[in-house]
């Protein structure tokens, strides 16, 4: 198992897609949040300003963390989901999956190793998000000694981690669909379905929508997502991970 993790780690470390997704999630999204907060504070007019009015609520660290939280809920989900589709789907797309048969390490363990590497990558990216936000916020003049900053950054990190976990099950779609297309289509469909679920008021019970709704709720007087719903989201994600590993243990080539 350890050898499989080392090999999967090497494959992701040397792949441009992992680095590109990490930059998107850990740098672009937080800096976009900083830009949005800055733009909202200028009192500008226009369609973008109107949208930002709904997104940027409050001031100081609350406004920044709340805004970045909403962006992370989408950006992190897409970044992790995209990399998960690549990690699993590419083996089928390039045909290298055949080489994963007739080995002393089972394909189920190889799939688990892939998730272990994805999980570690997502944790690093989530931590980088927090660091970038903190540094960017301080650079824009926010008080580094703010009493609620540590709690706010911890909540943001937790959001990034939970969002990452609910993105992992798209690996099952990439696996069963035997390539990128099914995985990417599933990723896009999840985003669409989540939006519809939120519109109908049941987003909290949809695992893929719950983290984003929770982030929106940080700046709302009402609780949009309960701790139980977040737990359900993570449990559902782990069921998806387990189902993927089980499928890998049993599938045959066509």
């Amino acid at each position: 198992m350890r050898d499989a993790v080392v090999v999967e780690g090497a494959k992701l470390r040397h792949a441009p897609v992992g680095w590109a997704a990490a930059v998107l999630a850990a740098v672009v999204m937080p800096l976009l949040g900083v830009a949005f907060v800055g733009l909202a504070g200028t009192g500008a007019q226009g369609p973008l300003a109107a949208k930002l009015d709904g997104m940027v609520v409050g001031s100081g660290w609350d406004a920044l963390l709340g805004t970045v939280g909403q962006l992370v809920a989408v950006g992190q989900f897409l970044a992790v989901g995209f990399v998960a589709v690549w990690v699993f789907g590419r083996e089928f797309q390039d045909g290298t999956v055949a080489a994963l048969f007739a080995l002393p390490v089972s394909r189920g363990r190889i799939a688990t190793a892939k998730f272990a590497v994805l999980g570690a990558w997502a944790l690093v990216v989530s931590s980088a998000v927090v660091v970038v936000v903190a540094v960017a916020g301080i650079a824009t003049g926010l008080d580094p000694a703010d009493a609620g900053l540590a709690a706010g950054l911890t909540k943001l990190w937790f959001l990034a981690v939970v969002t990452s976990s609910v993105a992992l099950p798209v690996a099952l779609a990439a696996s069963v669909g035997r390539g990128y297309l099914a995985g990417m289509a599933t990723l896009i469909a999840i985003v669409a379905v989540s939006q519809v679920a939120v519109l109908f008021g049941i987003g909290g019970w949809v695992p893929f929508a719950a983290p984003g709704l929770w982030a929106v709720g940080w700046q709302s007087p009402e609780t949009l997502v309960s701790p139980l719903q977040l737990v359900v989201a993570v449990v559902a994600a782990m069921v998806g991970v387990g189902a993927t590993a089980a499928w890998w243990n049993r599938f045959q080539l066509r």
Binding site: V7, A10, H14, T96, A99, F101, A102, P104, Q252, L253
Partner: protein
Amino acid sequence: MVPPLEALRVRRRWGRHVAVDDLDLAVAAGEVVAVVGLNGAGKTTLMRLLLGMVAPDAGQTRIRGVDVRDASATAWADVGHMVDAACAWPQLTVRQNLEAAARLHGVPPALRAGAVDDAIERLVLGEWADRPMARLSSGNRQRLGLACALVHRPGVIVLDEPSRALDPAGVVAVRRLLRAEAGRGAAILVSSHHLDEIARVADRILVLHRGRWVGRLDPAGEDLERRFFDLVRVADGVERAVDA
């Protein structure tokens, strides 16, 4: 003695097409068995069945006497193959790919570096050792795939067209390599479209046509191509007579 690699009355169909039809096969230790046939004859399907990539509809395939569906990690650690794809990834260099293959095949840590260096030398990949696989020529990718299949010096080797895309020097290198592996006791199954080349490597040449064995070719014989087509034509004639 139990053959290291066996197929026992194995059958597999894809929809209405019977790819492998009631085949028996035994490859002994130290033997090179070649399977030749036209495109779609069932060579790759047979190899996939032997490696557990596809389950048979009937019959059994075995590694050292054990059904491949029940084979242990130890059994699989002694198998090396290149069927459909190499155990290699484009973003990794030659050396990194060999290290990955050595790890996945269970080579102990203390022996890994030596196994990788040995594989690079045997397949003449030294000049490209630090180049990503994506930037190798097709011939060198083939050499890398073979190196990855053999880095752990397996006792059971299954190779689908090992000389594909190789230059003449590569063909000679692979020929010598396979004979050396057989010489140290490995059971080797290869498929090929190049009859003259495979005759220089194989101890036995079996002809597969429409999923069935239709005869053998003598590796020391002459005009193998004509004899191959004679076997295929006879098989087709028999089938037409049966169908009629």
